[in-house]
């Protein structure tokens, strides 16, 4: 099966001198408009920010390991949790997931590139410079405590904490501008996704034949187009407040602090679906391959995805139950939040249905997506608990909430990302990641993750608030915090092994070939890595599994459509 393969370019091309070759290749990447190169830069930059955000988290856990610890001072602690949250959402989750979308969408729908390749490059560089602008605050920004103050207002930047009165200097302005710039990048990428999926599909690739991931990315792109502009608008208002003396959010001058919360969470809740839906896509691609079955209930999966997209726009005030919105609004947003568990539950059961009766192969990607389903269910259940208004009154702003959203964002999104990295690494580089090291990564991450985040539910239920930099001895929180902190080095070991795995496999990993997993979607029909033009001949397809049809001409899927 060597259909549409381009030349294999594993060996470096001979060049004039090592130095000349180095700068040449830097230039090649810097000016590239190839969706695959941009995607790898997205994912690489996202992984670097992942390490930075992880180090910030590690410092927080070190500080909280014991009562009355003094590793970092309170001001630094505020900066740590602000930068950790902002980094993980905007500079890790978004770019890695959009990066995978960039890599996979054209290959999966049988196109030679994205609809607007130059816009694509523009979006990537906006993201990078937005991220660098945010991190420049560590050296360049002024704050209450002098120069070199990173933003310290929380990733949600609640008013009036962000007003000139309470946030001196310009660290909050760095937060606004950095996120705004990288937000523009996300929006251009979303436009590209929609145009590519709607206009660039190969002959025969009807919408209902697209790989699930393309559907997920389509819905995500629409959510980006609805949600990110709201954040941009709110940030523009905040910028006017801070620099021009406007009165949007300052309660002392008839502004409304609650308005910021509404605008921020109208962005913020779709944002968590922007972060989880692509991971749903990874699961929906990886699970069928390693169960050796078609995905269970494809049309329902599509409907559930679109349903989640719509409902996610109507649940934002469940972040605001303790504000005092009144019983009517509280009930409404509680009810819509319960409602969203229906399409999500459909997905969970469809994945279980995919595994049911399949010939399961527990390779590393499969381990990660199986872990994803289990951990996401736990995070979803605590989500249902938190959708119950009186429970939120009790648990809001406690470590229970921290535990909840790390179960969906780490146990969900990050596990999905690792599964995807192991699954598509051979396509992008031509070499497989090492399975033995991969299994070490999975089990260390899984155990470390559970050690860190499971006890947070207990310490939260015992009343430990979020965002405190230390606590007293007699609260009964010590053991749970200690266990949480012990989980950190375990996770770090897992990530370190992963990085070693990448470095090692790039040089001497097993050569993958076009289709190492015997999969069914179009990206596996071209060479690994694919040529710049993706396909020598634009493929055609007659079913949702074009590669199955080619491998089994005697029993093509088209017979069952």
């Amino acid at each position: 099966m060597t259909i549409g393969s381009g030349h294999s370019s594993l060996a470096p091309l001979p060049g004039p001198s090592p130095r000349g070759r180095f700068w040449e290749s830097v230039m090649q990447w810097a000016i590239s408009v190839d969706h695959k190169k941009l995607a790898m830069m997205y994912i690489g930059a996202g992984l670097i920010f992942f390490l930075v955000g992880g180090i910030e988290a590690a410092f927080m856990r070190l500080q909280l390991a014991q009562a009355g610890n003094n590793v970092v001072d309170p001001a630094t602690f505020n900066q740590l949790f602000t930068m950790h949250g902002t980094t993980m959402v905007f500079l890790v989750g978004m770019p890695i997931l959009l990066g995978f979308g960039n890599y996979l969408i054209p290959l999966m729908v049988g196109a030679r590139d994205m609809a607007f390749p130059r816009l694509n490059a523009f979006g990537f560089w906006l993201f990078i410079f937005g991220g660098l602008l945010l991190y420049f605050s560590y050296v360049g920004a002024d704050g209450l405590y002098g120069a070199g103050t990173a933003p310290d207002v929380g990733w949600f930047a609640y008013a009036p904490l962000t007003s000139r009165t309470f946030s001196r200097g310009n660290s909050t302005d760095y937060w606004i501008l950095g996120i705004m710039v990288s937000g523009f990048g996300s929006m251009t990428t979303a436009i590209n996704f929609i145009a590519t999926i709607l206009c660039m599909r190969c002959p025969g690739m009807k919408l209902m034949r697209m790989p699930m991931i393309a559907w997920m990315m389509l819905v995500v792109a629409f959510l980006v187009l609805v949600a990110i502009p709201i954040l941009t608008a709110a940030q523009a208002m905040l910028l006017f407040d801070r620099t021009l003396g406007a009165h949007f959010f300052d309660p002392e001058t008839q502004g409304s602090a609650i308005l910021w919360q509404h605008l921020f969470w109208f962005f913020g809740h779709p944002e968590v679906y922007i972060l989880i839906l692509p991971a749903f896509g990874f699961v929906s691609e990886i699970m069928p391959t390693f169960s050796r079955k078609v995905i269970f209930g494809y049309p329902l999966m599509v409907a559930a995805t679109v349903g989640i997209g719509f409902i996610s726009l109507g649940v934002w005030a469940h972040h605001m139950f303790v504000v005092g919105l009144g019983p009517v609004l509280d009930s409404f947003f509680g009810a819509t939040t319960f409602l969203i568990s229906v399409p999500t539950g459909i997905k969970i059961f469809n994945w279980l249905g995919t595994m049911w009766g399949g010939r399961l192969q527990f390779t590393t990607p499969m381990l990660f997506v199986t872990g994803f389903v289990a951990m996401f269910v736990i995070g979803g259940l605590t989500g249902i608990m938190l959708a119950t208004v009186p429970m939120t009154w009790q648990l809001s702003d406690s470590y229970f909430v921290v535990g909840h959203f790390h179960y969906v964002l780490f146990g969900g999104t990050v596990f999905g990302i690792f599964g995807a990295l192991f699954y598509w690494f051979p396509k992008a580089t031509g070499r497989l990641l090492n399975e033995r090291l991969g299994k070490w990564t999975f089990w260390l991450l899984f155990i470390g993750f559970t050690l860190t985040f499971m006890p947070m539910h207990i310490s939260g239920a015992l009343g430990m608030p979020r965002r405190i930099y230390t606590y007293e001895v007699d609260r009964g929180w010590e053991i749970w915090n200690l266990i949480s902190s012990i989980g950190v080095p375990v996770q770090m070991a897992g990530v370190a092994i992963f990085l070693w795995n990448v470095v090692r496999s790039l040089r001497k990993g097993e050569v993958a070939g076009d289709d190492p997993w015997d999969a069914w979607t179009l990206e596996w029909s071209t060479s690994s890595p694919p040529p710049e033009w993706n396909f020598d001949r634009i493929p055609t397809c007659t079913s949702a599994r074009p590669l199955w049809d080619r491998k089994h001409p005697e029993d093509p899927d088209a017979h069952y459509e």
């Binding site: 002959p203 208002m237 021009l244 001058t253 055609t540 007659t542 093509p556």
Partner: protein, 207 residues
Amino acid sequence: MTALNATTSNVRLTAPLSRAKVGMACLIFMESAFFSAFLVTYLYYIGKSPDGPQPLECLELNLVLINSVCLLSSSITVVLAVRSLARGAMGAFRLWLAVTILLGLEFLLGTGYEWWGLIEDKGLTIQSNAFGTNFYSLVGFHAFHVLIGLILLIGVFILSLFGFINPARDHQRVDVATWYWHFVDVVWILVFTLVYIVGRVPQGAPA
């Protein structure tokens, strides 16, 4: 392999949608979300400025009505320009495009003149109160988008002067560019209604 090459009946070979149209539609969708945040915020703050200049005493309709007529009629002239281009009548195309640009310029200059009066005579600034904050933000962001649309149209105009616009090849591209101009007009209808009609209620009687 045979399944690949066989042209089966359920393989459609035509591209259904134009990338440019989908891209522009997405941009407009995104901008609508952006403006909806400012519109809702404006609505929320109507009647919530106890001190400082009030909408009823600051905003006068005569100048803004002229501006609105200019901006809205520019939507018609830009349609005439695109139709001329589709016919291949380059002279008429340039004429109507120039009229559109002039009408857009009138709107921007008129808005600037109105703001000058508000700042100098009425003492309304972005710092005055919630009304000033919202008025300058919403109307200002709209004017900023008119400016973007104008730059787009002026770009097309300059290209046509140097003969880079080929009617057969480009009339659909120019058409897509003018979608943005229509969008800016539609936003103005909402802004005008909210600011100059709904928003000019007397103090103490929120709409």
